[in-house]
Point group: C2
Chain length 243, copies 2
């Protein structure tokens, strides 16, 4: 299927509860055919989007926290931050050691056991590479993998899913030097396809439905290459007008 034929977003149901140490690639493999005969296929060239929450759980990135003590959460967020940009009430917008700028340093108390908080993966590009390699081993498929998380943003209400890690699929594609349909060079047109893929996958997952992964089928083959969120998406401070 080429991109002009369209893209399909397939929710991956049937992935059970994730415990620390779980083999997430094997759990994805067990949720598709042939292991699960009524599950979807996973094909060469597909992109698998997995939410940060299950990646963090599988990697044991869980810490105990008293949910009734707001100061405990604030201390944990500060510990996970290298710099605080803004505070309002118990909301902290900060920069994580990965270079992500997000609310509460990605510390999350939803969809984890009571009294626990999930932290971001130590290196979510590495997490994506491991899942990709695991899927290759389990199923013999060559797929892209994106680890997604839910971020707010300035100026616009509502959150959207973005990529915090990727492997085997581009984070940013660069159309500079290509031309528009009038034959003129496109300037400064770098498209963050990994964030668009993460947002697209969220449409079939949903926080209230608890579906932790989705398959994106029909991604242009030119996007399937070695890639990294950290090196392609994190904007260096000297390029950034809003730090």
């Amino acid at each position: 299927m080429s991109a002009s034929d369209g893209i399909t977003l397939i929710p991956l149901t049937g992935i059970g509860e994730i415990a620390p140490g779980a083999d997430l690639a094997q759990m994805v493999a067990d949720a598709v055919t042939p292991a699960r005969p009524d599950g979807p296929e996973l094909l060469n060239g597909d992109v698998v989007v997995v939410t940060q929450k299950v990646v963090s759980k599988a990697e044991g990135r869980l810490v105990a926290i008293n949910p009734d003590d707001p100061a405990a959460k604030i201390a944990l967020v500060e510990q996970e931050s290298v710099r605080v940009l803004r505070r309002r009430g118990d909301l902290i917008i900060s920069e994580t050691r990965h270079g992500f700028i997000c609310a509460n340093a990605g510390v999350d108390l939803s969809n984890v056991d009571a009294g626990m908080a999930a932290l971001l993966p130590v290196d979510s590009d590495r997490s994506a590479r491991r899942i990709r390699a695991g899927l290759g081993n389990a199923l013999g498929v060559d797929v892209g993998v994106i680890v997604s998380d839910t971020f707010g943003r300035p100026w616009r209400r509502g959150v959207t899913d973005v990529a915090i890690g990727c492997a085997g699929v581009a984070a940013v594609i660069d159309l500079r030097g290509t031309t528009d349909t009038y034959g003129r060079k496109l300037l400064a047109t770098e498209i963050c396809v990994a964030d668009e893929l993460a947002s697209a996958a969220e449409l079939v997952m949903g926080k209230d439905r608890g579906i932790p992964a989705a398959i994106v089928r029909g991604v242009p083959t030119a996007w399937l290459r070695a890639a990294s969120v950290r090196s392609e998406i994190i904007r260096p401070p000297d390029e950034d007008l809003f730090r």
Copy 2:
């Protein structure tokens, strides 16, 4: 098709060049079956995503500009802005009169005739409503419509498509009061599905391919309601930590 069956993103090829005054709804109708037998269907419950560029062209939002005079573009951007947030070289990040915060107030010289610039629609929610009504008249279908544009964002490299107008499909869905899969209330979880739908559609359009519209099929029926980007997505200044 329910959301759990997945979502399909279908590029809408075969839409010709758009002239001022063009009936964009009719052009979309002419690009699908039955008018175009080899085109896709357009079905009740589909969401049609149309890029700002063709909406602006159809609405005659074009002005003459000397492309070799940087000062002329800066003057035009300032005229389209109510407030400038940041400047670097010839890049201006400003707030438009609609309340959008974006680069160059949405003024765009690509994919328009040389010597012309496209401005944002005057009211892109109204643009979406008109296209939706036009599709209802032409085809008897009840669809959602999103007008999309390409915005940069702080802290992350690369641009993504977002919604600047919508009709018949939610801009933001509110999961507050619903529970996570552990039965605990989700807090502050407003999902900007219109931006996620715009990003998803961009994956099958592409600035270098010049496809100005896409169909999103399989959107949850609960999202299909009266809606507005302006009232749901634009963050009021007193809620915003980054103005």
